[in-house]
Symmetry: C2
Subunit: 661 residues, 2 copies
């Protein structure tokens, strides 16, 4: 092992294994996770060339092979528990997406949720067995977040008892669905249902797109890959154009709404439950943000411990770059954020399961808050993580720019999270809608509960937003609880300002909707402050559950750093409304520097505790053994440009130019 890393690990103040158990939930979970990970690490069927050296087509091929192998192996190993499937997939996929994945994550669940028993009988077995390879086609070239704007039509023809599917415009072409371009032979298509001359809005249809056996596109179907992207090279995100394409009436998923053979439309009784999937996916994405950021921190911090550069004192050997205050200031707040988001992710998972059980028992009361919370936290954690991964990459200097670092791939695989499953700004505005509703309730004299219960403390009469709050300045900057309180006051103040500004615009504008648009910057700011408060609160509360003293001490420092760094970045928010004083802000900046020094000896152990196997990082710089430079040289030699000693373009273009002289 690299001498620097060995020294770092020996000097740590706590046992990272104990912290790993905290992150996994229990020692038993850690054990089982590793067991599953090792199944893959030791399986030659999962080995392949480094994707960085392959062409797009080769990368797609590797992905299909891995997808296929995975299906076989999960059956073989008997992995069926959803969490275990997740571990298995994560290890197997390595910042990596699988073309067949949508069959299991979208096609089958939609069939189960929205199909009748007869429909499930007809399609479930063959889709589980990959006779049917399905995907889910919703987004169109011209329409994403705003579902009502989708243009694809499904017009019922009672004569033949078929739906006629059409992509009437270029903008209506289905665009983006994963696995649609080359892999899938079926798609669940979202289309505007038209029957008896009337449009009934979006409904889901099972549409065969390629012939089973030959895999050729069926007549009336135009399907293909949407072209190269920032990342997701392995994925055949696809387009689908349908021209008077006919499917039987039975292919409409009819568990809720129905179209009778004569074309009569039967309304669904309720479809609140489709809500649930969206909430699940978004709460899952919070955990993914934590995971991606943890990976990036692992790479950047290990590399910063191994890399020696520049000098602090002239003449002395070059220090580890982790000893520079600026490097610590770049990385440790991100490390603290990674831990914060790990705990937010765990909370989201628990809460989802709890509320889901309530829903199963018919209690939908907590669903609106859960929806608001997942929307906002999905946006908050993904925006933060997005910028943080790049900060980690740039903290690795030149080598961060090379694919040897693994960081560019982590970034390009993560960044779409800010856009998909609900564009982040739209998500923040959904949370804001809930906050405004809660604010109105409080003003109407009602109590609100859950994470917004702090609004109950709002005085009911105020005049000017800037006079909103004169809080007693008693923040103790060494107490996570007191800092949580400060974040709560900030959120209260920004919610109130947004509400007042909104009221003000409503008075001056013709419509509520225009007023909403003209307040939306304030509304997003309020949602961000709310989400930041939630993250701080959950981190503080987590500390209470940590039994091991040394683990508690180091997590407490991280929690303080997370809180104080946020205050320092948004000092204006804490100074306004007198939540904190100028001299407290000065103390915050000083305390942050002390915390950097306090965390420094444990930095490597803190990323070791995330327990990423080298292979999941796909990173030369982030190796556990710290053997960076030799490996980098070996890695580089495999570059596609190094296949021959002299590249043919020399003879084609440069040599002729030389001989002309």
């Amino acid at each position: 092992m690299n001498q620097d890393l060995r020294r770092e690990r020996e000097a740590a103040s706590f046992n990272p294994e104990l912290l790993t158990h905290v992150l996994d939930g229990s020692p038993e979970s850690t054990r089982r996770r590793r067991e599953i990970e090792n199944l893959i690490l030791n399986d030659p069927d999962f080995q392949h060339e480094d994707l960085n050296f392959l062409t797009r087509s080769q990368r797609y091929e590797v992905a299909v092979r891995k997808s296929a192998t995975m299906v076989k192996k999960m059956r073989e190993f008997g992995i069926a528990d959803p969490e275990e499937i997740m571990w298995f997939k994560r290890m197997h996929l390595v910042n990596f997406v699988e073309p067949v994945g949508l069959n299991f994550s979208m096609f089958i669940p939609t069939l189960l949720n929205q199909g009748t028993t007869a429909q499930q009988e007809k399609w479930l077995l063959s889709s589980k067995g990959l006779q049917i390879i399905g995907t889910y086609a919703q987004t169109e070239m011209g329409h994403g977040t705003h579902l009502r704007g989708l243009e694809t039509t499904a017009t019922y023809d009672p004569e033949t008892q078929e739906f006629v599917l059409n992509s009437p415009t270029v903008t209506s072409i289905k665009w983006w669905p994963g696995g649609l371009g080359k892999t899938s032979n079926h798609a669940i298509v979202l289309a505007q249902l038209i029957t008896k001359g009337k449009c009934y809005g979006l409904h889901a249809f099972i549409v065969p797109i390629r012939e089973i056996g030959t895999h050729k596109p069926l007549p009336g179907i135009t399907v293909g890959d949407i072209g190269p992207k920032f990342g997701y090279d392995e994925m055949d995100n696809g387009y689908l154009k349908m021209d008077n394409y006919r499917i039987p009436r039975e292919n409409m998923l009819m568990k809720y709404a129905q179209v009778k053979p004569d074309g009569t439309y039967m309304k669904p009784v309720s479809n609140k439950l489709t809500y649930g999937t969206m909430v699940f996916v978004r709460s899952f994405l919070v955990g993914e943000a934590a995971r991606s950021l943890s990976k990036a921190c692992t790479i950047a911090i290990r590399y910063s411990a191994v890399r020696h550069q520049s000098e602090i004192k002239p003449g002395e050997p070059e220090p580890q770059i982790l000893d520079f205050q600026t490097q610590q200031y770049k990385l440790f707040p991100l490390l603290a954020t990674a831990y914060a988001f790990q705990f937010v992710g765990a909370y989201m998972k628990e809460t989802y399961h709890r509320i889901n059980e309530d829903i199963g028992q018919g209690d939908l009361s907590e669903l609106p808050e859960l929806h608001a919370l997942t929307a906002g936290l999905k946006a908050f954690t993904s925006w933060t993580t997005n910028a943080a991964i790049e900060a980690c990459r740039m903290a690795c200097g030149g080598h961060g720019y090379s694919h040897c670092s693994g960081l560019p791939n982590i970034y390009v695989t993560f960044t779409p999270t800010c856009t998909f499953e609900g564009e982040n700004t739209v998500m923040m505005l959904q949370t804001a809608r809930f906050l405004m509703k809660s604010y109105d309730q409080v003003h109407a004299g009602k109590l609100v509960c859950g994470m917004v219960s702090y609004l109950n403390g709002l005085p009911t009469q105020r005049i000017q937003p800037q006079q909103v709050a004169v809080w007693p300045a008693v923040v103790d900057i060494d107490s996570p609880d007191s800092l949580t309180e400060a974040y709560k006051l900030r959120a209260t103040r920004l919610v109130e300002i947004a509400a007042k500004n909104l009221q003000n615009e409503v008075i001056h504008r013709k419509s509520k909707e225009v007023a909403w648009n003209l307040t939306s910057v304030d509304l997003v700011r309020a949602s961000e402050a709310h989400c930041h408060y939630v993250a701080v609160k959950l981190f503080s509360e987590k500390l209470l559950k940590i039994e091991d003293k040394s683990v508690h001490a180091v997590l407490r420092n991280l929690c303080l750093l997370y809180c104080l760094y946020g205050i320092s970045q948004k000092a204006g928010d804490f100074l306004q409304g007198s939540i904190m004083t100028e001299s407290q802000i000065t103390q915050v900046n000083q305390r942050i520097k002390e915390l950097l020094i306090a965390i420094r000896p444990d930095a490597v152990a803190l990323v070791d505790a995330f327990d990423f196997q080298d292979v999941t990082l796909g990173s030369v710089l982030g190796r556990y053994d710290g053997n960076v430079y030799e490996n980098l040289f070996e890695w580089a030699k495999k570059s596609p440009l190094n296949k021959s000693e002299v590249h043919e373009s020399y003879f084609k273009y440069l040599k002729p130019l030389q001989s002309k002289l």
Copy 2:
């Protein structure tokens, strides 16, 4: 033309052509730039397949072909003026790097600056004629910014009158130089000179690496490509390992230092002038930041005018996304920043030329400030631009993630600017060193001049940093001059805090250097505030020179937005020290929203004024005619995965799995 864009252009309050003249410097410059650009746009020799659809090796080949064609065409067209070469290259290269470029931008200039007349006679003609294709090899695998740490050695052997070059360790392997991997046959190598048993530090040597004619690596030389990166796919960034590789004594560049045939080392008289190249490159990078950000804004704003999505009022047609306040808040401050940086870039160019003339006449007095300013502004503009390009990309939603937007390529090509030619944090600390020196001078009773002259106003006796400044709160948020004053006060305050904290650490620590490290977060903050002040000041001053009233009006709004947005983002800095009051900050936030509305009708004309030809944007979304969707579909069809109807991996991996059922 797209109806939305036509309407936008008709509604503009000013003539963008006039603004283009401002940006180019004069109507004549605009005319000549377009003339040169059209040479390339209309030349079939420069046409090639979209690089997004090619493999790395194919992309490299296209780049070599373009490099070679460019050399021929520039001779043919008689383009020799450096600025015209720049226009030509920019148009020709399209967010794109050329493997042969280093021969002209680094090899030849270094030969001219550091070679003797005899050396120039020997190598200049053949490098201009590409008989010699040269590059510049400085960075090593283990050593970047800190030059003294470089490990490559050149040991003089008086017996044969040769230097023996060695890469003694893995970390000493030359790493990163552009064009080194496959293209170049010579490199100027930076190595520790050792003669008569003594090391004299870094010197430059001309090293043949490949045989002319066969292009094979010479014995003793190991050379190749360093592997795939985030971007720069076209560039063969290379490695170079030398094992007892001998070159004649005459291959050391000896204009300044010399090694006599017997091995006697002759010190250079002065080498301050090597300073100049670095300053030139960095000041050039400020303009490049402006240009990259302008491109990103052009794409995002044109697309936001064409894209219709979601709804403001239910039931009404989907609005242009540019009508959402949140979208304006994402993009218009970046547009204002692009203009700010355009003016900073123009100022840097002028200043560099002015001071360079002074230097030519022996006057080095302004060099330290120029050095400090270019270092800081390079870091300040590149960090800001880096984040801003990604913000533009994400503002384009899903399509921003596709290479069809052109934005991922702009980002990955730009982002290394934060690292190369001086890592940004190191750059900020160099500026801080100058600020601290100026601060000390003021405290010693001397006056300082240039951009730091505001420090002359510092009172000499103060006690606590947080009590530093009680400025009269008279900022007029509608006056660029008054806002510049506010930024000046902020810079003064943060410079003073950094200086006080540094003094304080010096008292408590053993060494000045340790104290410097423990204050470096404050020092970077001070430099950022200084650079931000410079940008605001230059923008405000530029307004005075704009004669056309309508152009002046719209630029004034952009300038205000640039100033106010910065204040809103860093409100804490302006509240502390009482530069502004809480109620002023509230007004700032309100005024920003008004400015978004004021700028909205001119947004498209403001990006049109940058005058990027469609082809230089390499973007389907950013097209001048706004014809986005049809083009996107045509573009996608060319995806490498669409070459065959059915991808072979189906038969290899998926079909066998199906038949097993």
